[in-house]
Structures are given as structure tokens and as C-alpha cells.
């Protein structure tokens, strides 16, 4: 015969039932894993969000719910936390991407909690699907960014006239010095003429440096002098920007592949600005693929020998019309029905302020935008 439950058992049972009812109704997905990353439990919301039934995924590695590069790195993240105890996500949370059973990635906000149960460590991930959330907020943010840039372009108009005047002086001087040196070197110059020609060329070089300083001031002005360059993980910049750019696109079935060189992951950049560049390029790529039967987006990185990393955003869209290609990075040039045509102009300003360059080339059935960023070693 069964033993009657005592009051504490009943109390615990009620509490458990209460907790279960709460978890069953919370719209966020909840995934419980052990410290090796094996899935222990998968809530009803998680089943709906990811397309798997709990009994299909319990016992699997949780990395199956992530796209690359997190997928292959997650075991290392866990090991690093077990070894060092340094928290990079627990109690902090982050915006990233998850992968649905159908292969599509979608943006999420992930919060992770840690607990010890019977001397065993478990992690609970709470996952909020960002697909639809804040879409309006994001459009507003885009507009604000664009308007702020337009404001700066307008200030630039005023700034440009004084700049032209300022720049004209060293350029005129360079021209005069070079002409003078040319005259002095005509025929068979005497030794004192050679000395004078050398001096003129030295003066020309000094003026060229001055012109360069003026241009640098203009760049600083354009980037608003508020940049904060730090060593950042490129994989994180890409993952976050990609997650935000995917907001509102789930129904379009965009296939995203992120292929970053794991050996060259550190760049010396202003995080917000470079995420703006990535966000703009990824959104452009998504929009370019709307009428295309194949919607595949690839973000990849390739190290360069000169202390830079090339980041590429490739789409399978309709390509760029010839008439736009020459002026694509100029402000107010656009092939879109909506938009002001300054997204790529912003990208170029930011990339050049980082000492890099940005360009595009036709891909296999679409377009590849590429830009370079200084590596952490080069930046330091």
C-alpha cells in the first residue's frame, strides 16, 4: 500500500505543479541543458519556436539550435566557462540568431541562468523570438540614423566651402613649388640650382602633408569625432547585426550562412559603427533578394596580408543595374522604391574612417559587397 504523502510533499508537489503551469504559458521558449550542452528539457514554447518535439531533441547537443559560427563553438564556450568561471552571457543576455528545424535562422534575445541541482550544474536558456518585435522601432532607428547623417551632410555643405578654401592653399603652393623645381632642373642645372630645387620639393612635400591633415580633419568631422575604437570579436559583431537585420524577414525564408575565419576574429573598430555597416549591407542584400527564387545570404571573412580583414556580404539577388553602379556609394543614389539612398554612403564614410575601403562586385547570380577592417594587431 502506498505511503500517504506528508504535508511537505504535498506542498512541494503543488509548487511544482504551479511552476509547470507558469512555464507552459510563458511565450518565451525555455531550454534546459547540462554543463556539457546536452538538452534536458524543451518547453512547449520551444517546440513551437524551433519546430522540434521535446522527445526528438532531449539528449541532443543544444548547438543544433544555433547557426554557424556559434554551432561549432558552443562546446568551447561551455568549456571556457567551466574552466575559467568568466561569465560572457550568463546573467547578461544577448541578441543573437537561432536556427529553426527548416534551416532558416531567426533573431532572438537569449538570457541564460545557472543553477546547481544535486551537485550538478544546469543552465536554463530563455529565448525570446525577435522576428516581429521592434520592427517599427528599428525602422524608426534607421530613419533617425539616416536623418542624422543628412544633417551632417548639410553641415558638410557649409564645412566644404571653408574646406575648399583651406585645401586650395597647400594645393596651390604644391603646384608652384613643383613648377619652380621643374624650371630649376631644366638643362644643366648648377649646384645651387639643384639645392634650391631640392628645397622646393621638400616644401611641396610639407604642403602635401598639410593637405593630408586637412582631409583627416574632414574625416574626423564626418565620423563626428565620437568613435570609440576597441578590440572586438568580428563573429559577435556579425551575429548581432545579422540578428537585427533579420527582424521581420522570417516569412521570406532567407537562408543565412556565416563563414568567418576563426583564426582572425579580432578587429580594432568602433562596434556600433561597424554593426551599422553590416546591418545596412545585410538589409540591402535581403531587399535585393525579395523577387529572387533563391534567397541565400552569406557573410564571410578573409584575412589580408596587410593587417586587414575583408568582410564580404553576398546575396543571390537581382544584381545592380549598370546605371547605378558607378555612383552607388554617393549619397541620394538609390534603385529602391523607398529609402533615401544614403545607406551605402554612410557605410563608405564609416569604413574609410576606419582606414578600410568598401566596394562591390558581381557574384554568382547576385552581388558581393566587400569591405576591409583593421585587425586588432594592426590597430594596436
Amino acid at each position: 500500500m502506498d505511503q500517504p504523502l506528508d504535508r511537505s510533499d504535498v506542498h512541494a508537489s503543488n509548487r511544482e505543479e504551479h511552476l509547470r503551469s507558469i512555464l507552459a504559458t510563458v511565450p518565451d521558449a525555455m531550454v534546459l541543458i547540462n554543463e556539457m550542452g546536452t538538452i534536458l528539457s524543451f518547453s512547449a514554447a520551444a517546440e513551437k519556436m524551433f519546430g522540434y518535439a521535446e522527445d526528438e531533441v532531449v539528449g541532443e547537443n543544444v548547438s543544433m539550435l544555433m547557426p554557424s559560427p556559434d554551432r561549432e563553438r558552443h562546446d568551447c564556450y561551455l568549456k571556457s566557462y567551466r574552466d575559467t568561471g568568466i561569465r560572457k552571457i550568463i546573467g547578461i543576455g544577448r541578441v543573437t540568431t537561432a536556427r529553426h528545424r527548416d534551416g532558416n535562422t531567426f533573431p532572438i534575445e537569449l538570457s541564460v541562468g545557472e543553477a546547481w541541482v544535486d551537485d550538478k550544474r544546469i543552465f536554463t536558456g530563455f529565448i525570446h523570438d525577435l522576428t516581429e518585435r521592434r520592427e517599427a522601432d528599428m525602422r524608426l532607428r534607421d530613419l533617425q540614423t539616416e536623418l542624422a547623417h543628412v544633417g551632417r551632410l548639410s553641415e558638410m555643405g557649409t564645412f566644404a566651402s571653408s574646406l575648399a578654401h583651406e585645401l586650395n592653399q597647400p594645393l596651390t603652393a604644391i603646384s608652384s613649388y613643383c613648377e619652380g623645381a621643374g624650371e630649376l632642373l631644366k638643362g644643366d642645372p648648377a649646384p645651387d640650382q639643384l639645392d634650391m630645387a631640392r628645397e622646393a620639393l621638400r616644401d611641396a612635400a610639407e604642403q602635401a602633408i598639410r593637405a593630408g591633415q586637412i582631409v583627416k580633419r574632414m574625416r574626423d568631422f564626418l565620423s563626428h569625432g565620437e568613435t570609440e575604437h576597441r578590440v572586438e570579436e568580428l563573429s559577435r559583431l556579425v551575429t548581432e547585426a545579422n540578428a537585427l537585420a533579420l527582424v521581420g524577414t522570417r516569412e521570406h525564408g532567407i537562408d543565412v550562412q556565416i563563414r568567418l575565419d576563426p583564426h582572425f576574429n579580432h578587429v580594432f573598430v568602433d562596434r556600433i559603427q561597424i554593426q551599422q555597416v553590416l546591418f545596412n549591407l545585410i538589409r540591402n542584400a535581403i531587399e535585393a533578394m525579395m523577387d529572387s527564387p533563391l534567397r541565400s545570404l552569406t557573410v564571410s571573412s578573409t584575412p589580408q596580408p596587410d593587417g586587414f580583414i575583408t568582410v564580404s556580404v553576398e546575396d543571390t539577388g537581382t544584381g545592380i543595374e549598370e546605371k547605378f553602379s558607378a555612383q552607388l556609394f554617393q549619397p541620394f543614389v538609390t534603385s529602391k522604391r523607398t529609402g533615401m539612398g544614403i545607406g551605402l554612403s554612410i557605410c563608405r564614410t564609416i569604413v574609410e574612417a576606419h582606414g578600410g575601403r568598401i566596394w562591390f562586385e558581381p557574384g554568382e547570380g547576385g552581388t558581393i559587397f566587400r569591405f576591409t577592417l583593421p585587425t586588432a594587431e594592426a590597430g594596436e
Partner: protein, 114 residues
């Protein structure tokens, strides 16, 4: 539009008697009215026939589906894995097999076609 995204999930094997949803492929192929591979459409745009292999915590592999000696193969990261579809229709619930580089023949269930 007859280009389809076909998701394969590992079927029952000795190592995974219940199969495994975290191991599989996503293939993009043109299908005809009988749900078999549309050869005309394929040869018109062979680079559209992409493949992605995902295998638990291993890095994803990306590549293409290529015709080889009258059969098909999944070519990811420079490695060919023969894909046996024969002339069977590629429909939800159907089965195909893929031969790993070590010669192991792995069964896959067609988990979705869209």
C-alpha cells in the same frame, strides 16, 4: 517555381537507432511534376543546386549537388558523398541514402519539401 528546399534528417542507424534530427542535409533541387529531379532545370542553373550539411556540433558544410557518372553526389567543402535518389520521387516521408567518405551508407528521411 519548381526549385525546392528538401530537408533530410538521419534515419535509424546502429549509432542512432531512433535517427537524429540534428544530423542532416538541406538540398535545393528543381523538381518536376512527378517530384523527381528536373534535369532540364538543373542543367540550366547547376549552381542553384546547393547543399548544406549540418551534423550536431560540427561546423556546417556548404556545397552543391553535382551529377557524377549517371548518379548524384553532394559536394561539400571539396568532398563528394554519393546521393542515392535513383528515380524515386522526393516527397515528404520518402527516403534517400548518402554514402559517407568511409563507405558507410546512411539512410535519411525526407522531413520537408517546400
Amino acid at each position: 517555381m519548381n526549385w525546392k528546399s528538401i530537408r533530410l534528417e538521419l534515419g535509424s542507424t546502429e549509432e542512432f537507432p531512433q535517427g537524429s534530427v540534428s544530423r542532416g542535409y538541406i538540398l535545393r533541387l528543381p523538381l518536376d511534376d512527378f517530384d523527381t529531379i528536373d534535369l532540364t532545370a538543373f542543367h540550366k542553373s547547376p549552381r542553384k543546386a546547393t547543399a548544406r550539411r549540418h551534423w550536431s556540433a560540427e561546423p556546417d558544410e556548404n556545397g552543391f549537388i553535382v551529377p557524377i557518372e549517371g548518379n548524384w553526389a553532394i559536394r561539400c567543402d571539396g568532398q563528394d558523398r554519393p546521393l542515392h535518389v535513383e528515380s524515386r520521387p522526393l516527397r515528404l516521408g520518402g527516403r534517400v541514402s548518402v554514402v559517407d567518405p568511409d563507405g558507410t551508407v546512411l539512410p535519411f528521411n525526407i522531413a520537408s519539401v517546400r
